[in-house]
Symmetry: C2
Subunit: 253 residues, 2 copies
């Protein structure tokens, strides 16, 4: 497929690379920011533009933009052919419906950071199309990238995104807290890396309920109290109390 990317951030970069490596043709990158557009276009050996008037013809337009930027870009696009899709978990497909004939969503359930490669073959990709033919096209496209293609409605996708926020974004924030606590005690963060890997790895074979350990799980109130007294940061105290309370109360049920 001939594909144009609108956006040149982390999702666009990782997805464009994966599509190119799997035989698709990336014909153009649009970004408001010349540096971003040009950098990604050069990496992919393709063209770029910084004005939406300069968009070329393509089979597929991928809006890999932050959630709140999608609508405004949609409003400015003047090409009505092709399939128009976004990659956002929490944006409804119908953001396209007043403007385009063929549209949909292509949501890879993964966290994308600069300088960290992704193996797309294991990334679940959730597609939604405005009709059966578009759904099938997007599903087939997903199959060229991953062993785990799925169809999901906009309502399901927002639930997936919320679950991902808990499992990924908030877990990473807990790592930041842990790193900060260690730093303040002159201990290096890397001593926690095996524990963090094992915590994630356990739930590949155990359910998260089975995998739960720790003082709150054991209802060890003495240790909970002692640790809470030692934590100085008020924000961290709040999270410690709330999480411990919820973990213990599940075990009391």
């Amino acid at each position: 497929m001939k594909i144009i990317f609108l956006g040149a951030g982390n999702v666009a970069t990782h997805l464009a690379w994966a599509l190119k490596e799997n035989g698709h043709e990336i014909v153009q990158i649009y970004s408001r920011t010349q540096l971003s557009a040009e950098t990604l276009a050069q990496q992919l050996d393709t063209d770029f533009c910084i004005s939406l008037d300069k968009l070329k013809q393509a089979d597929l337009y991928i809006y890999a933009l932050s959630d709140n930027a999608i609508e405004s870009v949609v409003n400015q696009v003047n090409i009505y052919s092709g399939i128009h899709i976004h990659t956002a978990g929490s944006v409804n497909m119908n953001i396209f419906e007043r403007k385009f004939e063929k549209f949909g969503v292509f949501y890879p359930l993964q966290t994308f950071s600069k300088d960290k490669e992704i193996d797309f073959s294991q990334v679940p990709i959730f597609v939604e199309g405005c009709n059966k033919a578009v759904s099938q096209t997007l599903y087939n496209l997903a199959k060229t990238l991953t062993n785990r293609p799925f169809e999901a409605s906009s309502a399901q996708r927002i639930q997936l995104h919320i679950a991902a926020v808990f499992a990924c974004n908030f877990s990473n924030y807990l790592y930041r807290i842990a790193a900060d606590l260690l730093l303040k005690n002159n201990l290096p963060f890397d001593i926690l890396q095996p524990l963090i890997m094992e915590t994630a790895s356990k739930i590949q074979t155990l359910s998260p309920d089975e995998a739960q350990t720790g003082p709150a799980h054991r209802q060890d109130m003495k240790t909970l109290q002692k640790q809470l007294e030692i934590i100085e940061n008020e924000d961290y105290k709040k999270i410690y109390s709330e999480m411990s309370e919820q973990i213990s109360s599940r075990n009391r049920k």
Copy 2:
């Protein structure tokens, strides 16, 4: 070394196996519960007892018990020779000092679950001894199991334990929330496994600050508001609000 374990739970089981595999002799398992004592002793092809009066002579007594059980077991032990150590993050070494001549702590920074093997060679182990000779003995013992032995004071160890509670126990609780949200929407938990592995894997090469992604990190208030409205469970709402607020406010600083 001839080693006796007091306790037959997850830590005792994993640690006893690792010690045996590395050439140490486990001479006895004590547990109040006959089934636990006997099961672990049989696995290790050694003796067991369910009364502290029946403890044998050994070089090392490892109290791998829940934090609050250690003191009461210490009070009942009538053997004063050998080195007496516990494996708890949040228990001070001085719990042993009124009773024994040689004592210390041997704290493996890892999460141990039944039915999940551990590669000890990457597990950081923090030792503390009542004197230099004991510290050295415990450090050497740690070296037989892991490439990452460290010395740490009781004060440092409790900080390590608190950091581990955030990075491991609380992360796992977030996985439980995510699993629950998916279940309620007829979506299988295993679609989150690649995301969870990638989240943990990222911080092996990026700092947790660099690895942060998500709507709160982008200060995408519209998505935060929408997601918060969709979450029904009041407990989950509390965690969502608090974590999002803390993540956004870090970026505002």
